[in-house]
């Protein structure tokens, strides 16, 4: 990057990402379909519609964003490529949004279905601690000035976190099985009727697209930020 002549134009043109607009349109379409064109579930009533945002967000937060963060962290320590650090950073931040959506919509659903805002079920607890860890990860990034050190520290935390989540899940599971509670089990997902399944898959596709679009936007921001930092360093 520093080939004598400092480059003037940023590495990325600053324009809106069309993917983001497509994703947002998709989400809007999912809402319309879920609210107006999908039948109301017999036992749970209208509350079940929260599934289309809750379950998809949960899947993306846990199995896409978090896994991507852990893998990018591990690869960073191996390859020392700044791009991987930016992927991990962006994935963590976008993942935090999705995890927050999960934790916000879950209690609303839970209150109507289980009669309780919160239960210390294995999955709920693991998600809550995942949220805490991602917050800590982002706070750690914010607290380290030097870029290389910031990348190494957060990569170490990202990898260790991926070891931790199974342990939390396992211990809470054991906790629960030794102390059974009355209304705890989630309704064992019966096979969805076709109309609901289509809405669900549609929602899934829209949220995946939204995740990718946000990830790319956030990644570009990180690239620009590092580029600006480089220019400032050159001038100093």
């Amino acid at each position: 990057m520093t080939s004598g002549q400092p480059s003037v134009s940023p590495p990325i043109p600053s324009q809106r990402d069309p993917l983001l607009w497509v994703a947002l349109l998709g989400i809007a379409a999912v809402y319309v379909r879920a609210l107006a064109f999908t039948p109301i579930e017999a036992r749970q009533g209208a509350a079940q519609k929260i599934m289309y945002i809750h379950a998809t967000s949960a899947f993306i937060a846990l199995y896409v964003a978090f896994v991507l963060m852990a893998i990018a962290s591990a690869l960073y320590l191996w390859l020392k490529d700044e791009k991987l650090d930016r992927v991990a950073e962006s994935s963590a931040e976008v993942g935090l949004c999705f995890t927050t959506v999960v934790l916000a919509t879950g209690p609303i659903w839970g209150k109507t279905i289980w009669g309780a805002w919160w239960t210390w079920d294995a999955r709920l607890t693991a998600t809550l601690f995942l949220w805490f860890i991602i917050v800590a990860y982002l706070l750690l990034r914010g607290a380290v000035e030097e870029r290389g050190r910031r990348a190494r520290y957060s990569a170490v935390l990202g990898i260790l976190a991926s070891f931790l989540v199974p342990f939390i899940h396992l211990s809470v599971y054991l906790f629960r099985t030794l102390h059974p509670m009355p209304i705890l089990l989630k309704p064992s997902a019966p096979s969805l009727p076709n109309e609901m399944l289509v809405t669900f898959l549609f929602s899934f596709a829209a949220f995946t697209l939204l995740f990718l679009a946000l990830l790319r936007t956030r990644y570009r921001m990180a690239t620009l930020r590092d580029w600006v930092a480089d220019r400032e360093q050159e001038r100093a």
Binding site: F129, A136, A155, S171
Partner: protein
């Protein structure tokens, strides 16, 4: 220590022992951190007693939770100091310049922290038994075993995060924020297994929890030892 000065550099374990001895010597001569953490733990034990209605909740039901929560926070005080003490006059440069493996620095630091934490537990557990009137007979040996396993897990993760947190802008706040999520399985397993022992249940009932503790120790001692060199500046 002098016999190593001229001879070839020590092996990893010998070097780790030297690092641990250095830290323990500093701690033994000043004693500030240990005494503060100890008094903090004892104060915590007494304060917790009054946070519950003693007529409504049996002391034996409170004791395990109190013990492990207090232990976690007192342990954090010690972990803070572990790498914090290397900041003054850039003492850490001396460690990094020494002809020893990076892993040895971690293991030595962790060993010193383990002694620190074990010292706190050695006073806090009897204090809890005393203040909460626990009928602890044969279970004391098993409880010591649980304490040892929990201490190893706590120290393994805490030492690594101490090395990281000390180089950040908000070390005192960041260490608990990084460490506490990792202490959840440790505290849960330690509290659940010791609750069964303190209630006079057979050791076999605590066995599933002990397995989690052992697995946690193995995974995180290994992972943290391997990860530690990445937390040092090249």
């Amino acid at each position: 220590m002098t016999d190593h000065a001229a001879a070839s550099p020590p092996g990893t374990l010998a070097a780790a022992w030297l690092v641990a001895r250095k830290d323990l010597a500093i701690e033994f001569r000043t004693r500030t951190a240990f005494l503060s953490a100890l008094v903090f733990a004892l104060l915590g034990v007494t304060i917790f007693y009054f946070a519950w209605d003693a007529t409504a909740v049996a002391a034996a039901d409170l004791a395990p939770g109190v013990l492990w929560v207090i232990f976690t926070f007192a342990g954090l005080l010690g972990l803070q100091r572990s790498f914090g003490s290397e900041l003054a006059d850039r003492a850490v440069d001396g460690l990094l310049g020494a002809p020893i493996a990076r892993e040895a620095i971690y293991l030595g630091k962790a060993l010193a922290n383990l002694v620190f934490v074990a010292g706190i537990l050695a006073v806090t557990i009897p204090a809890v038994v005393l203040f909460y009137n626990l009928p602890l007979g044969a279970g004391i040996g098993a409880l010591a075993g649980i304490a040892a396993l929990a201490a190893v897990g706590l120290v393994a993760v805490g030492t690594l995060f101490s090395a990281m947190a000390v180089n950040t802008r908000m070390a005192e706040l960041l260490l608990p924020m990084l460490s506490l999520p990792f202490f959840v399985p440790v505290v849960m397993a330690a509290a659940q297994s010791s609750a069964r022992l303190m209630a006079g249940r057979p050791v076999a009932e605590a066995w599933p929890w002990l397995r989690i503790l052992v697995a946690f120790d193995i995974v995180f001692v290994t992972a943290c030892t391997l990860a530690f060199p990445f937390t040092l500046d090249e």
